[in-house]
């Protein structure tokens, strides 16, 4: 009897111990640290209650900038990355020669690391010899030239274009998979009833892609909230903190300025935002799978 109840725990033990050590206990300790002022070195921590949180909201202009940038990033991802992904999927979901080649080309950047993409695109944006400015020169559009990553006005958008290049393939592949589960019959029925193509799209394709939309929107929201590698690799949050996002500002506060409490508070903002996205998502998907 005891061995039978004990056995599952034995199988579970390695995963459980590592999970507790690496994720669970540290995140609780981070939460605890977010109520203190501490530089990470001195033995004593000063308790400040919610001070770190209120400081971030009331006094830290870069934090506000970071929040705004995460929001802009999210809006850009939900419209442009998801939109282009859907358009590409619709175009590729046909009898086409070279479909797999096209799909491969559009999806490939997604499997690259953000740092590789960032390094490559930094060169593409190089003010004197990069592709963008050289191409503008060639087209006679010298006045459009910018030091794309060095000007606060353009930097975030320039990084986002690189992220767009990298990210379109993911929703595209998900939408393609979703489109392939849609049967032929409703389209035939609609055609016989005299539906126009845009009507079929609007009343058949979109509703039947609902599941896929839930997945794409959830993954997009999470990815936009966590965005880090590509921004760190291209601008490091600069120029003049104009491209800081929550993740990079958390990194700076914690590991550059040694404001452990502030950094911990930022990371708890991240936890809260991801809970707002993930809890309804998990609830929705588990409810579906039990039916």
């Amino acid at each position: 009897m005891t061995t039978r109840t004990l056995k599952p725990w034995l199988f579970l033990m390695p995963a459980l111990v590592i999970y507790l050590t690496v994720i669970f206990v540290p995140s609780i300790y981070t939460f605890f640290l977010s109520f203190f002022r501490w530089n990470g070195v001195t033995p004593d921590k000063e308790f400040v209650g919610l001070g770190n949180y209120t400081d971030l909201i009331m006094n830290d202009t870069v934090f506000a900038r970071a929040l705004r940038n995460n929001l802009l990033w999210t809006i850009g991802s939900l419209t442009l990355i998801m939109g282009f992904g859907l358009i590409l999927a619709l175009m590729l979901n046909k009898k086409l020669k070279g479909r797999i080649v096209f799909r491969g080309i559009f999806y490939f950047p997604y499997v690259l690391s953000g740092i590789i993409v960032a390094t490559g695109w930094t060169w593409i944006y190089n003010p004197t010899q990069g592709f963008v400015n050289k191409a503008l020169e060639l087209l006679g559009l010298e006045s459009w030239k910018h030091a794309w990553l060095a000007e606060p006005k353009t930097a975030l958008y320039a990084v986002f274009v690189a992220a767009l290049w990298q990210g379109i393939g993911q929703p595209m592949v998900l939408f393609l998979a979703g489109l392939q589960t849609i049967p032929q019959d409703p389209y035939e029925a609609a055609y016989i009833d005299g539906a126009k193509p845009h009507q079929s799209f609007w009343y058949i394709t979109l509703p039947l892609l609902r599941e896929t939309f839930v997945i794409v929107i959830a993954t997009t929201l999470i990815a936009s909230m966590k965005v880090y590698d590509i921004i760190y690799g291209m601008t490091g949050g600069g120029p003049a903190e104009s491209t800081q996002v929550l993740s990079s500002w958390m990194y700076n506060q914690t590991f550059k300025f040694a404001n452990i409490g502030t950094g911990s508070a930022i990371s708890f903002f991240l936890v809260m935002i991801s809970m707002i996205v993930i809890i309804p998502y998990v609830y929705y998907t588990t409810k579906k799978s039990h039916v």
Partner: protein, 278 residues
Amino acid sequence: MEELRVHPGIQALRYTVLILLAAIFLIPVLFIAFTALKSKSDLLTSPFYALPQKFQWGNFAEAWNQGKMSMYMSNTAFICLVKVPLGIMIEALAAFALTRLNFKWSNSMFAFFLVGMMIPIQATLVPLNIFLNKTHLVNTYPGIFLVYVGFGIPFGILILRGFFRTIPKEIDESALIDGCGDMGKFYRIVLPLAMPAIATLVIFDFMATWNEFLLAQIFITKDSMRTITTGLLSFKGEHATDYTLMNAGVLISIIPTLVVYLLFQKYFVSGLAGSVKG
């Protein structure tokens, strides 16, 4: 969905748009490759769209050897080769306990692991750093494997549990009759039957580990242990104005991913769709 009728004009338009878009997607890579293959003077004098006057394969050798790209790459390969099988073994054992051992706490433990998916890595970094420093595991492989395996656990369990559940329970009973213990059931029945899911997870885990940046940035500070991501950044820092060399480095780090991608493209696409549906 197949189309009911396609006007040849529409089909031609479709190809034109797709080819144009594909070209836009490929231009950045081509520009990087052209730069990487030029000599420094060639880069300065010839137009940006021109092919290299003479292909400078030496740039690659220089990035590979003096630029230490070979070291960064073999470090990353080593981490992947240990982390991926180790992590999946640990996740599979847990998923086995959650699905096939009549475990009373099965659902609540699964939910507990899922909580981990909500916690961004940032929320663990400071305590982990303190812990690894206290245990002298910073810049050691045991420390790296611990952290890397840890962050793979929630997703791995989610995928494997989902797949293990689809394996019929009757097989377990016949195994019991044949005298298989639980360990035997795990090794001889569940693992082999779960190979499709495991193969997908291997590819995904491999790519995630290969591309990992934040953990490497914090926990691997010794240059001789750096992975490809942090290595590429320090390479970029050291050769900031040596554009041909820097792009050779970028191209070198793209190649392994490209090879894995071309070999296993099927898994990437089907796995992504499957993991999401599961």
